[in-house]
């Protein structure tokens, strides 16, 4: 057995970020990854020889602080590529939002969009510092922790009476109500809903946290815009890996942890290392889990080490994924009706009802009969992702339930894949003949491939009861756990999912206090 200061379980981007921060302070850090490559859902995936796409196909609000701290640019990460146009295709003329401008809608909607975007960006700016902070403990009265909220309250107040009132009014609004208030164009409304909903079990009419999710995604320098860095999203992963190795992190892939070792003394239980599925064991002063909370506590710690109430709060985290992933290898650049060049994020849905109806199917365990989706051609931004003059189509398809009513079979998956392709073909006439190969990942496939419960991108819905000091649950919300020496640093923690690096950053900060 080799002794480490810290073992990090899971080399997703948060695991890499946390491990690197710790190693930079001189800690001996071991980073263990079950898959044969690092990066988790952002890892490159060669789904057909020569054709590449990660599950997470764009970047929007990766923390610039993390990029700076970890010197990612020097390690090959170039986030400076331009923002992808957001293109909505449906019944009529496509609507395009790009660099704060909008086309394909009335002048009234164009003006409304500027107001809307400005308002949301002001709110996002108030919330932004919040995402980089450890949330106060419930019942804590420590000045520092109370100040976290006091500061937010003050910043909200500084927005002025009108904006503050508006913030409080819309914070829990369904996306549909928010966009209905602002716009006439159905296509525009549907595409603006998208970023509030994706990844969670939510549709335009669902109240709860879609607006907060949207504000979370509007944080950062891109203000909600998405981009594909040169070298693809996986260049973020490779730069994180290079930075980690440079800091001295010992990275081991194909090293699935089967158990976190728990020892107890008179005072309490303590995580002292890990056992691997291959029989190896490693000891460390502390263990940091960069995987989801359910796997961490139920599978790796074991419920016998946990209180019953705590265990059941972990159990009831809503973490069933609803997004499927379609990958197509194409022999040419596809054309979309009315779209000059398919180099944006193309939201395929005619209106909000279409999203809602697609969700209705999934609520009862069926894949949507008429799926809605976000299509990106990553190879249009980075030609290295496909062989010469050939292309990759990558689509997030909603809503594909993790728990299919009749279970997932190969045939069921093929049917959903074909349905998704049929939907795209409606807007891209020649596409069917361009397809060289295809792949569809249901949330169940994502779970099996990427070791993430429910195949959920964010390790749990971004919902009010699963946010802030309730994420993943109280008593584990400060990157801590009821077990001494066991910490969390994944999307299961505040502030949550997406490729941001924030959870990894915040956890490292907490550990180094």
């Amino acid at each position: 057995m080799t002794g480490y200061d810290t073992i990090v379980i899971g080399a997703g981007h948060n695991g890499l970020v946390c491990a690197t921060y710790l190693a930079k302070t001189g800690q001996r850090v071991l980073l263990l990854e079950a898959a044969d490559t690092v990066g988790g859902l952002a890892a490159d995936r060669e789904f057909h020889p020569g054709f590449h796409a990660p599950v997470a196909h764009t970047l929007s609000h990766f923390s610039s602080k993390v990029a700076r701290d970890l010197d990612l640019q020097r390690h090959g990460f170039n986030p400076g590529s331009s923002e992808l146009p957001l293109v909505g295709v449906g019944n009529g003329e496509p609507v395009v939002v790009h660099d704060g401008k909008i086309s394909g809608v009335s002048a009234k909607d164009q003006r409304a969009y500027l107001d809307y975007h400005g308002l949301l960006c002001r709110f996002a700016a108030v919330l932004e510092p919040f995402w980089l902070k450890t949330m106060p403990r419930i019942g804590s009265n420590s000045i520092g922790e109370v100040m976290t909220f006091a500061k937010l309250g003050l910043d909200l107040r500084r927005l002025g009476k009108k904006d503050m009132g508006e913030f409080l009014r819309i914070a829990a609004l369904p996306m549909r109500d928010l966009v209905d208030e602002h716009f006439d164009n159905e296509q525009l409304k549907a595409m603006l809903c998208w970023d509030g909903l994706i990844g969670s079990k939510m549709a335009p009419r669902s109240p709860n946290s879609a607006v907060l999710a949207l504000l979370y995604r509007l944080s950062g320098e891109m203000h909600g815009g998405h981009a594909i860095p040169s070298g693809g999203v996986s260049s973020l992963v490779s730069s994180l890996m290079a930075s980690a190795e440079n800091a001295g992190v010992d990275i081991r892939v194909s090293s699935e942890v089967s158990r976190i070792r728990i020892d107890s003394d008179k005072e309490r239980q303590r995580a002292t290392g890990v056992h691997l599925a291959n029989g190896e064991s490693f000891a460390a002063d502390r263990v940091v889990s960069a995987i989801d909370a359910q796997r961490t506590f139920v599978n790796l710690v074991g419920v016998e080490h946990l209180d019953i109430g705590f265990t059941n709060r972990i159990r009831r985290i809503r973490s069933d994924g609803y997004v499927g992933k379609l990958h197509l290898a194409l022999n040419a650049l596809p054309e979309f009706r009315g779209v000059d060049r398919p180099d944006g994020r193309i939201i395929i849905t005619p209106n909000m009802d279409a999203i809602e109806f697609a969700f209705d199917d999934a609520k009862y365990g069926n894949a949507s009969a008429e799926p809605v989706m976000e299509v990106v051609i990553p190879s249009a931004a980075d030609s290295s992702l496909a062989p010469d003059r050939q292309h990759v189509l990558s689509a997030h398809v909603m809503y594909i339930p993790y728990k299919a009513r009749d279970g997932w079979t190969g045939a069921a998956r093929d049917e959903v894949r074909d349905r998704a392709i049929d939907t795209i073909v409606k807007y891209s006439n020649g596409l069917r003949d361009q397809i060289v190969a295809s792949e569809f990942l249901t949330p169940a496939d994502i779970e099996a491939t990427y070791h993430v419960s429910g195949g959920h991108w964010h390790h749990g819905d971004f919902a009010m009861d699963q946010m802030l000091m309730m994420r993943p649950t109280y008593e584990a919300a400060q990157y801590n756990s009821p077990i001494a020496g066991l910490h969390l640093c994944s999307a299961a923690c505040h502030p949550g999912g997406d490729l941001t690096g924030l959870a990894g950053h915040n956890a490292a900060k907490e550990l180094l206090r």
Partner: protein
């Protein structure tokens, strides 16, 4: 009955009938019934005090069919039960019973009950109110455990009193006299099994008899035939409450409130507050609430349940207790009180704030005489031991009759 259930608009709301009901209904001379866990259940049958004296002097039977019974089985059963309860059931021998409590994460008591170890991978948990939701939560994460509610499948009868062992011997249960307290014995019985545990809630020599529901009346008749010359008498809730208070046993919703059903913060109790620290094994592996209980043990409980002997002969029903005769400071409240016929003393259980344990304790007692209220302040003395104990409750074999 079937005709009634078709025409009776309240059929689904009427109390369930115990498998012993055909006998109970004849014996319940006063027709006094209440309901426990959905079962029609006797407060008393003839006269509560008479029934109490039967427990103490001859023997009585108490219908415990309404008790909730859960069978927990499978390779992970022991680990699952052990993680739920405060005692170490790994130390429990086969065919032994342990009284225990189980707690929330915060170390507050959810319920008390008994754990029967029937085999290395089979347990029965018996408690006073439904625990099925908690058991389901407690079993989550254990891959090889089955929790089955057997409350309605098993009939159970408590037989308590000095002559109880003699009754069972006469019934033909050979070797029953060798059962030590908390032992379980099994007897072949009409093609099935009669399980007898030396357990009870009276502080007496006593047994609890467990049999398949279909055999309930057969067993009742056998017990009553054998008990005829031994002063057997059914007793109800009122007599039980008297006997248990003398023995110092606590009653849910009288002396403590179940944590999961308590509305107000910390209106529930911890094992240490109820003097049940002996049930909390902090040396065993992790169990639910352990960390909180370790903290509490270190800091000391905020309240203590005290056994009080109170001057005078007015039972201190629902009394507040004070630090002085002049009621200077309210320091707690009485949970149970009675004039004890066996001890010939005015006894009570009371919850008192820990910081007042060393001072004087006075109970403010109200008594109505011909509808006119009278008030009296009575001095209380703390009793460390149970108010009443009997050597026969512990001796094996018990004295014969």
């Amino acid at each position: 009955m079937s005709d009634l259930s078709q025409t009776d608009p309240f059929s689904g709301e009427r109390p369930k009938l115990s498998p012993f009901h055909p006998r109970l209904e004849v014996l319940n001379v006063r027709d006094t019934w209440s309901v426990w866990n959905g079962y029609k259940f006797a407060d008393c049958y003839y006269d509560a005090e008479y029934e109490y004296f039967c427990i103490r002097n001859t023997c009585g039977t108490y219908d415990i069919c309404p008790m909730q019974k859960y069978e927990i089985s499978g390779p992970d059963a022991e680990a699952m039960v052990n993680r739920m309860v405060t005692r170490d059931v790994r130390k429990l021998g086969r065919n032994r019973v342990a009284y225990t409590v189980w707690c929330t994460d915060e170390g507050r008591i959810i319920d008390d009950g008994t754990v029967f170890k029937l085999a290395s991978d089979r347990f029965m948990v018996v408690c006073g109110s439904s625990c099925v939701a908690w058991l389901r939560k407690a079993s989550y994460g254990f891959s090889n455990v089955t929790v089955k509610d057997v409350s309605d499948e098993l009939a159970a009868l408590s037989l308590q009193g000095p002559t109880s062992c003699a009754v069972l011997k006469k019934m033909g249960l050979q070797g029953i006299e060798n059962a030590k307290p908390f032992n379980i014995q099994h007897f072949p019985y009409h093609g099935d099994t009669l399980m007898v545990s030396r357990t009870g809630f009276t502080g007496e020599l006593g047994y609890e008899l467990w049999v398949k529901r279909d055999l309930a009346l057969t067993m009742w008749d056998d017990v009553y035939a054998a008990g005829e010359d031994y002063g057997i008498q059914p007793y109800g809730e009122t007599a039980t409450d008297m006997a248990r208070l003398e023995a110092g046993f606590i009653m849910p919703y009288v002396d403590f409130t179940e944590a999961l059903k308590t509305v107000h913060f910390e209106h529930d109790q911890t094992p240490y507050e109820l003097n049940l620290g002996w049930l909390v094994d902090l040396d065993k592996p992790h169990f639910s609430g352990k960390q909180a209980l370790m903290e509490e043990k270190k800091n000391g409980p905020k309240w203590r349940l005290l056994r009080l002997e109170i001057d005078g002969n007015w039972p201190a029903y629902e009394s507040n207790v004070y630090d002085s005769e002049s009621c200077n400071q309210d320091i707690g409240y009485v949970t149970s009180a009675m004039w004890s016929p066996a001890v010939k003393s005015n006894i009570a259980l009371a919850m008192v704030r820990s910081e007042f344990l060393d001072g004087e304790i006075w109970a403010e007692i109200y008594k109505s005489k011909d509808l006119r209220p009278y008030r009296r302040m009575s001095k209380c003395t703390i009793r460390k031991k149970p108010f009443w104990t009997a050597a026969r409750a512990r001796s094996t074999p018990p004295a014969d009759f």
